[in-house]
Symmetry: C2
Subunit: 230 residues, 2 copies
Amino acid sequence: MTTTDGNALVDDLAARIRAMIMSGEIPIGAPLRQAELATQFGISRTPVREALRQLQTGGLIEVVPNRGAVVRVPVPWEVREAYEVRAELEALAARRAVDRLDDASIAELRAVNTAMYERSIRIAAGEQVETGGVDNDQFHTLIYRAAGNTRLGRLLTELNDAFPRNVSALVLRDNSRHREENFREHEELIEAFVAGEHDRAAELMRQHVSSAGEHLAHWYERRSSTVFTG
Amino acid sequence: MTTTDGNALVDDLAARIRAMIMSGEIPIGAPLRQAELATQFGISRTPVREALRQLQTGGLIEVVPNRGAVVRVPVPWEVREAYEVRAELEALAARRAVDRLDDASIAELRAVNTAMYERSIRIAAGEQVETGGVDNDQFHTLIYRAAGNTRLGRLLTELNDAFPRNVSALVLRDNSRHREENFREHEELIEAFVAGEHDRAAELMRQHVSSAGEHLAHWYERRSSTVFTG
DNA sequence: CGCTCCTTGATTGGATACAATCAATAGCAG
DNA sequence: CTGCTATTGATTGTATCCAATCAAGGAGCG
């Protein structure tokens, strides 16, 4: 439910390109040539241009005036900035969600959290698991959907889409301590929801997102060297 | 300083159209025809399309797939939603600004606040005053510039640009009580900055923005009837 | 040998032509 | 007079063409 519809083809296109960047199919720093994308999708350059512009305003790609677009290489301080803001907004979402989460939604939160946890354990054990389905974003999305503020939801989505690759899928997969931490923090949060404690829910969420941002920034710090060297 | 440059012509175009909407030159609910705007600016439809899409993602205009774009009619609950978020973000900006505002910036804040206050008094007295220069947005912009978080600044700008017409210029002009209130709240805020009180600055800002949002929502409520009847 | 300037190739930016879509309305049947 | 359908006009959506721009590389000069 985006407030203004726009154009279906262009929006789909933007979403597909975004997904390709997020999944790593189009790597960080790679150039995005309009003609190339156009032939690849079997359409003209015109809608591709608009889709790229859309991604540009989101900050996912960088457009140099007559030289083309590249997937943005996130600088750690940008990640920290974004997550400082995100912590505040998610805290607001959590506070608002306290009074709006019904029993079914609480159950869904628990289900998503445990499913995600068990899945990540299986992955860590080397087992091959289907990638789709539950993930970390879904947990948070459930909360800010419940918050019932569309503007808030839009801004959080925008922040989520600002950096390539999926936070949970990579950071959580690489580090078992963070995985445990993530699961426990989500559980505490659910407890606060059930208990109806607004301030506690907000504060827990703030802390949770802050530390997640710190982990992600570190991930990009480590990553940046490998990106540039090869 | 927008992080990604994009295209100068299109960005300027979007800014000009936005300004025309903000100032009321293009009224709320008016259709924005691509061909019309193109001839008006002496260019082709292509950049106009991109500029409109840009305004659309900002939420200022609404685009119906094959029927054209119109200036969005703000619904009061949307204003309330946006200002609830904005209150949180401006509170964060104020908290961060406490440690980063030097004496010169404090002096500038005071100057802008008093200048704005005196100007609004002269306007209320019926005097004709040049419209440009200091205004309410400038006061707030100074603060979130000082906050030193570019992402935060971008989001706040985005929120500011989401609704037609200038908040201060209209709401403050119409109501002397709000004018006094606004001036006093700004002064208190500056006191908190000078005293270095993080929590107080954040809380004052939160309250200040909240009440401003309430005023604006009321303004749109009253306005909506006149818009629809003619 | 190094520096400058010009050419050239690749790519985006803008203009225009054409197709698709939708709402309004006129015409017709019942 | 009412309801349905086909046509039409206006507008956006897409494709294609040409111009503008920039970086890289090579020729010529000091």
